[in-house]
Subunit: 199 residues, 4 copies
């Protein structure tokens, strides 16, 4: 067995490059250069192009991975979750996402630039999925909640949650803990849901 297991080597390199992209993105923002990424990864620029067609693919790769992970934690045990009452449902989803993003420096960097990346396909796909989950919760609980304008209320709820969290994660020196943020968001969304409740 002379050849190194090709698949595995590639995976390691791709992973390494995506993490390097995250770190470079964190440090330089959208001004990151291919050289930044290569140096951060400890490889040559040429190697970078062996695994990614161009610079944009690097960022897309990072974002895809994050979007996929976010979708994953929300989709996991979705049937059981849909049975929960709204505050518990919302807070549990939020906590999982927050934990996922907070733990990963690369993901934190992406969060800080979430708005700039909204054109990446993977982000849009993830958004569709998450909004779909919210819609399903509402439909599943149609006896309790009957939003006047489902489409728009899902849009409002999704964006309020995501961008508020992303903004918080962007703060260089957050003046309060993440717990308090999660609690208040849960309060707000619960109040919103209740207002949409049956008379």
């Amino acid at each position: 067995m002379r050849k190194p297991p090709q698949q595995q080597r590639s995976q390691v390199m791709v992973q390494n490059l995506i993490e390097a992209t995250a770190r470079a993105f964190d440090r330089r923002g959208l001004h990151l250069t291919t050289r930044d990424v290569a140096e951060e990864a400890g490889v040559s620029v040429g190697s970078l192009y062996q695994y990614f067609k161009n610079k944009d693919e690097l960022l897309a790769g990072l974002v895809s991975r994050m979007a996929a992970d976010v979708s994953l934690v929300v989709m996991r045990n979705l049937p059981q979750r849909l049975a929960l009452d709204y505050p518990t449902f919302y807070k549990s989803c939020l906590l999982e996402i927050v934990a996922l993003v907070s733990d990963n420096p690369g993901y934190r960097a992406v969060a800080r630039h979430w708005h700039e990346l909204s054109t990446v396909q993977a982000v849009q796909t993830a958004e569709q999925q998450l909004m779909e989950v919210a819609r399903q919760y509402m439909l599943h609980h149609h006896n309790e909640y009957q939003p006047r304008d489902l489409q728009v209320s899902v849009f409002v709820g999704y964006n309020s949650t995501v961008y508020t969290v992303m903004r918080y994660l962007s703060l260089p020196h957050p003046p309060f803990g993440i717990d308090r943020l999660v609690n208040e968001l849960t309060e707000m969304m619960s109040a919103y849901a209740e207002r949409n409740g049956k008379v």
Copy 2:
């Protein structure tokens, strides 16, 4: 009075350049070049540097102007507004901001890139001001509303509102009208405010 007062000439030029920046920003996004701006303004690149130290100052100028305008519409008649009930107060502020931004292509462009510009000082100042208004409303109505966590609820309310609107303005083909967005945001924020109401 043969030659026009220096001050005024400058003002006109600065104004012209900022509006040109807005138009260029609208067309090219963050890829705008100094040449784009100069052409849009109908002046030479050299002149541009007579009034702005560098490219970033142009964007900062545009953003400052927008932030100032936003502050202005919210601050205007603030005493009277503070007397309104919450839904009316919130919705009137929101409508004014939305109208201001929607009417100006340059401001719309800035809105589309709001997150990327959050490091600009003027944006941070405007944010402080707007959050301060929200805080004042709550304090002024402390008999009706007593948020458990004023600081965080203001943060949540501010960011939910602003980024949801900005996100809407970023949509190339909004699937619903701005009215419905404003209504739902008002619903959400009113429900949130009420939950913080006295027992």
Copy 3:
């Protein structure tokens, strides 16, 4: 009159850059770089792009100029020339072209690489023109010459002449003078023309 006469300045620069391209082409062949050209011209790479859209345009510019000049000397006094007998006609055209190319180092460089440049539009246009002149001579003298296959004989005559001359000009150390080449080419073409003569 503050502004320098723009048209004239441009012309000088364009001329300078084309000549620099010729020299660089002469030295580096098709491997010439934009840096080569810029250095040879004594300007920065940036300037180069102010006057030419890209590297190919530089070469195209040089070739166009040469092709235009070649056409010019052949077209000049064409009516009178068409009246000459074939050997005189052919030799006079050839001598003019040879003189034009020999005198100009840049044109000599292009000649050395003529075949590589046959895809440039200007070359094809010039070729069409020159072959058209040959065709016209034959038609004008249809009483004396009636080629069996006009189209092909023009192709053969044109290419034999041009590429033989170009090849001669490519020789680093020509083993004989240009006069002898011109004489032999004239001999060959005259013999060919005569064979196409009336019985």
Copy 4:
């Protein structure tokens, strides 16, 4: 005899690589990369460097082979050929060369770039040989033909023939068949030879 003789393996590999170079050259022109050649040959780039010092050697190898083949067909039965009358001699040589080149896509590609390759040693050697054959024909028939300027007339004849054919092979859409080209070239050269005939 367990393992194949070294010599033969090499020969096969070298042959394979040269043919791959020909195919790649045909497809990519002068922009061919080592990767193109390796893929076309079905081997790794590394192997390629086992047999050729660098990329230029590959092209040189291809050109050498072609030059050798061209020499071969002309040299074959040279004594008999020298006895033929000039038109028959010339046309038979030409037809053999045309057939050889037309049948091989790689050779056609080389032909298309003949001028660019004229610095390759093998090309120069082949040219010397071919011109020597022409000279020998003239010397062998010194009773019939006495060129005023043997050296130059051989140069003119050789280059006229070769470059006209090469140029024809470069045409993306030849407006006439190769037969007509061969016929006209034969006409021209025969007329030229006759003019050099005894009085």
